[in-house]
């Protein structure tokens, strides 16, 4: 029994390594990721949950062009700060690592369409557009040809202007991860 399990394990490791060795340079790689992100507001006791995703194209081994989108789904705290939040951002990422492990940092300016749920006397906040800036650190494991695992930490900075006391800081840090899909356009 032990030998059988051991053989199966060796078989899977061999297949895994074969898949890994099949990876080439990341230049020309296009990847898509979608998942759920747990957010933590920087200046408010609120923990929003987002559906998020990004598309990334590796123009070279070190550089990729990246576009991301974020949609508020819920908040884990009663009376969370955000009532509406939809964001898009575009930017560039710098990569380090090898064919199997990829570490990247990205900077992405963008815009968010947002509205706080804060209650005021004689004033109801309305959704509005605001500039944003997102910084992201991502680790990816390219374990096979169409799929990879990833984990990503982001800080997304934005402000809701026009509230009675001035601005409301709607910046947050979020953590996301899961399974991604990629396709190669260059050999």
């Amino acid at each position: 029994m032990v030998i059988r399990i051991f053989s199966i394990l060796i078989f899977f490791i061999a297949v895994f390594l074969q898949a890994v060795s099949a990876q080439d340079s990341k230049a020309g790689l296009l990847r898509f990721n979608a998942g759920l992100a747990q957010g933590f507001m920087l200046t408010n006791d609120s923990r929003p949950l987002f559906a998020d995703g990004f598309a990334e194209y590796f123009t070279s081994e070190k550089i990729s062009i990246k576009g991301s989108c974020t949609q508020l789904v819920a908040d884990r705290v009663d009376n969370g700060l955000l009532k509406t939040y939809t964001g898009i951002s575009f930017g560039m990422a710098w990569h380090a690592g090898n064919d199997l492990h990829d570490f990247s940092i990205a900077m992405q300016p963008g815009v968010v369409y947002q509205c706080p749920g804060t209650a005021y006397i004689n004033f109801t906040p309305k959704p509005q557009l605001a500039p944003s800036l997102m910084f992201t650190a991502t680790y990816s494991l390219f374990f096979s040809n169409p799929f990879h695992f990833y984990i990503s930490v982001s800080e997304n900075n934005s402000f809701y202007r026009g509230a009675p006391g001035g601005n409301i800081n709607t910046s947050y840090i979020s953590i996301t991860g899961g399974l991604g899909w990629h396709v190669r356009y260059k050999k």
Partner: protein, 202 residues
Amino acid sequence: MKPLRISLLLFILSTAAVSAQTDSLTPAGQMSVGVRSSWGLVYEHNWNRAAFGSGGQFRLRFSDRVNSDWFIDYLQGDLGDFAKRTDVHIGWSVLYYPFQNKKKLQPYILAGHCFELLRISENTNDENFVTRKSASVQAGAGVHLHLTPKSDVSFVAQYMIHFGTNIDVAENPVTFSKPGGIALQDHILLHVSLNYQIADLW
């Protein structure tokens, strides 16, 4: 037979043209697209605070030493705690490289023109607002950090002067008025841009 020869000649010529483009040895003709994040350090009177914005740009290089940025920025900022401002900048700058090098860091100076659409509105009452269109000039300095031969991060600090109608703001109650005349309003604009070369046009 003759049309075949002409077709063959055209094909050879087109191939030669393509290879000439890809083998371009000078940076002239390079075209890049990019995104940028901006901070406007607007401190007029005693109520303005820093504005923050996002934007995009494309860059067209005229020669080895001369480049150009064509940009649009969308910025928002506070006027104390009683009003907010929204600025849209559309403009262009010419970049000059004083040092001809191919190093990782490439400093430059820049100057150009910009058009601005400004909207100031009262907090809690967006119907109480004033708008202004103005033209401006800007000049400053920056540096490219070349990450790869085709991509760079650029850091720029520039001084921008707007020529437009004067706007007076009163706080209690919040009122906006245009007393007439042209006002000069200046600020420092900082931005970081991420650029990627998409074409080499000549």
